[in-house]
Amino acid sequence: MSAPGKTEPTEVIARARTGDTQAWGELYREFAPAIFRFCRRAMPTREDAEDATMEIFMKLRDKLIQYDQTRSFTAWLYKVAANHCWDMLRRKKARHDKDMDDVDDVALECPEPNQLEKLIEERTSEEVRKALDTLGMRARMALVMRYYSDMSYDEIADALGVRRQFVGVVLLRARHELRQAMGENSALAVGGTR
């Protein structure tokens, strides 16, 4: 995962790694909004997101020396954030998803394409976010990792502790949950034709 189009502040990162508090402050100010938004999407409440953001940066500060400068800082940052959020959720025992063992046994009904297009067209960003809030923790976490921080399937698998082959299933199931939340009464909610 990377942040294409963005030049990473390598000089600031290098200074922060040496313990320069000013550089760390700059780094924090630059990335804190994005990490907070990541946590806000992934965590169930705003308070949890605030706590998670703060803790992630505390962890980052300690781990900064371990960061491999040849790789993307943003990618590393989101990986740490994702791992931390998922750990927090697990600690809180707030996951409502089913166990991963049975995910590939459950068949997903294919939606009717035109209805799906219509549903997507009609929904606003705010409605999507509201629907996202209703999802199970794993489903939401997977969507956030993939579509907010653009993490790879390998990274998602690593963070969620599932096999890579299941990541697609997790994402598809999450999308189905999301569609159901977005259009409770729609035919799409229960799937269309196969």
């Binding site: 995962m1 942040a3 294409p4 189009g5 963005k6 502040p9 508090t21 760390w24 402050g25 924090y28 100010r29 630059e30 990335f31 804190a32 909004p33 994005a34 907070f36 938004r37 806000r40 999407r41 705003r46 308070e47 605030e50 953001t53 703060m54 803790e55 940066f57 505390m58 500060r61 943003t74 989101y78 997903l108 294919c110 939606p111 394409p113 035109n114 799906l116 297009e117 997507i120 067209e121 929904r123 960003s125 705010e126 999507v128 976010r129 996202l132 969507l143 956030v144 993939r146 579509y147 907010y148 653009d150 399937y153 697609g168 299933v169 994402l171 598809l172 999308r175 999301l178 196969r194």
Partner: protein, 567 residues
């Protein structure tokens, strides 16, 4: 093809590609061969092409929805506060524990004795909480005067509340709750009865006229010859009360004459006050001269401050006076406590309680004056008395209270406090604004009160102004600390600098004569810096050359690779 064989290649129109495969295709997770199969299929299969497009659009919608900045970064995350977070749990406990102990000590040692005195003077509050919260103090004249202790007490209570519910109440909502509580406190105190307003050159309540409820009177000359079944609020050049007031009389005037009967209390700020009638309860007045005529009667206590007090009439209970010259020739049913230059207890005077006078000259007591106990006289020795151990102890307590207040303010408003402290460097602007706001704000608030329409605004304004006197010293203290120890962006080092600067200022302010002027300069300077910060906050940010705000999501990821070639 409905089977989940994601890499298979099927002929168009025979069967369709399943959703999972299409999603993996959109996500570029298929191998080359399988991706080519899907690509070929979707060129001839409208249904699968539509679903593919829908999935792609769904990906984009998800990304867009998540990346959208729907809420700003919370204030507490504006800066990195590692130590704050790590020490949060016990630091806040200790701080508020100390705060409670401090407030309790201040209350029992300082507030309570005064409160008792006030209670004797008719401001019968039973405790601090009821004084602040339950008595509708904002609407009851001078009782509404908040002291620092009350502010601290309220803040501590609010702090405890916020700490207890910190999981649920964060920055925005907590402040909203705080302000809503203050609003509610003010709102519940609104007088229940109908209120009448009259204004003009000559305003009067004619004889025989009965006013049901409170009345506000403003004008050159206010006369009350009739009956008022409620409180009277008067602002005039001259106020004459010949009629009957069922409630309190609260007035500001050049001259006040009470010839009639007032069942409640009298509270005035005036040049001359003359009482020839009857006040059934208490009188509190700050006036140049007070004359309690021989026919005048005060049912309970008299608290007066001014230049000349002449008490020929009868006072049912205690008398507390602060005046240059006081003459007592009437009857006082309780004790006398007087502080001033001179006290004369002349022939015919009778004091049934203890008499204590603290002043520069020994009091004159007529030989036939009746005193229940020998007069206690304390010669006032300026300056020396201030430098006792108790004085220094109080200075320490005050300094601690300031530090605590500063801690609360810097915690609640870290950015604003930083900005205000930084603004102290703009000496000219701060000093100018400080004089303007420091002097203008209370005048404006007073005008708002007098014009009645803005009573709520006026009293709230006074409260804010009063609090800003303390806040100003904290801000200047933070600036001084930063000059001495260097700047920092971190919370606790900043608090440390604030404490150092504040303590230094407190020490300097203790210097005789000069200290008071230094305090004045500090307050003006600080108020200016706060006003400047507030002013800048209220300005729209529109400069074209200003670099992007630090809140901008520079680290935000771009949308994922969801574009499908050729579609």
């Amino acid at each position: 093809m409905t089977e989940p064989d994601r890499n298979s290649n099927k002929q168009a129109n025979e069967t369709h590609v399943d959703e999972m495969t299409l999603l993996l295709y959109v996500e570029r997770q298929l191998d080359r061969e399988a991706a080519q199969g899907v690509s070929l299929h979707t060129q001839t299969c409208t249904r699968c092409l539509t679903l593919l497009r829908a999935l792609d659009r769904e990906s984009r919608l998800l990304t867009r929805s998540m990346l959208e900045q729907d809420e700003p970064l919370p204030a507490r995350l504006a800066e990195f506060h590692e130590k704050v977070k790590r020490n949060m749990q016990w630091i806040w406990g200790v701080v508020f524990g100390l705060a409670v102990m401090g407030v309790y000590a201040l209350y029992t040692g300082y507030v309570e004795p005064w409160e008792r005195q006030f209670a004797e003077a008719g401001f019968g509050s039973t405790n601090l909480l009821s004084l602040v919260v339950f008595q509708g103090a904002f609407w009851k004249g001078w009782q509404s005067m908040f002291s620092l202790f009350e502010v601290l007490a309220v803040m501590c209570m609010a702090g405890f509340g916020l700490f207890a519910f910190r999981r649920y109440l964060r920055r925005g909502s907590a402040l909203a709750v705080l302000f809503a509580s203050f609003g509610l406190m003010m709102a519940v105190a609104t007088p229940a009865s109908a209120t009448e307003f009259r204004k003009g050159d000559n305003v009067n309540v004619k004889k025989g006229e009965v006013i049901k409820g409170d009345i506000f009177l403003t004008g050159e000359h206010v006369r009350i010859d009739g009956d008022v079944e409620g409180d009277v609020f008067a602002f005039a050049h001259q106020v004459d009360v010949s009629g009957h007031i069922n409630g309190d009389l609260i007035c500001f005037a050049q001259a006040v004459r009470v010839n009639g009967v007032i069942d409640g209390n009298v509270r005035t700020g005036a040049n001359n006050v003359t009482i020839t009638g009857t006040v059934e309860r208490n009188v509190m007045t700050w006036s140049e001269t007070l004359n309690l005529d021989a026919s005048g009667k005060i049912g309970r206590s008299l608290t007066a401050g001014g230049e000349t007090l002449t008490l020929d009439g009868k006072i049912g209970r205690d008398f507390l006076g602060f005046a240059d010259s006081t003459t007592i020739s009437g009857l006082i049913g309780g004790s006398v406590r007087e502080r001033g230059k001179s006290l004369s207890i002349v022939s015919g005077a009778e004091i049934d309680g203890k008499t204590a006078f603290k002043g520069q000259r020994e009091p004159n007591v007529a030989s036939d004056a009746k005193l229940a106990s020998p007069l206690e006289f304390t010669r006032e020795e300026h300056r020396r008395a201030e430098r006792t151990g108790g004085y220094y102890l109080w200075q320490v307590i005050w300094a601690a209270a300031y530090v605590l207040f500063g801690l609360v303010l810097f915690s609640l408003m870290p950015k604003f406090s930083q900005e205000a402290a930084a603004n102290t460097e703009h000496l000219g602007a701060s000093a100018g604004l400080g004089i303007l706001v420091g002097a203008g704000f209370p005048i404006g608030a007073l005008l708002a009160c007098i014009t009645v329409v803005g009573l709520f605004v006026g009293i709230s304004g006074f409260f804010l102004w009063y609090a800003s006197l303390y806040f100003a010293q904290i801000i200047v203290g933070a600036a001084v600390g930063a000059w001495i120890m260097g700047r920092t962006d971190e919370f606790w080092p900043e608090i440390g600098r604030m404490i150092v600067g504040l303590l230094l200022l407190r020490v300097v302010m203790m210097v005789p004569y000069v200290g008071a002027w230094i305090k004045f300069v500090v307050v003006v300077w600080g108020i200016g810096a706060i006003s400047l910060a507030l002013y800048r906050r209220l300005q729209p940010t529109m400069a074209p050359n200003i670099p992007p705000a630090p809140m901008a999501p520079l680290g935000s990821p771009l949308p994922p690779n969801t574009t499908v070639g050729g579609i």
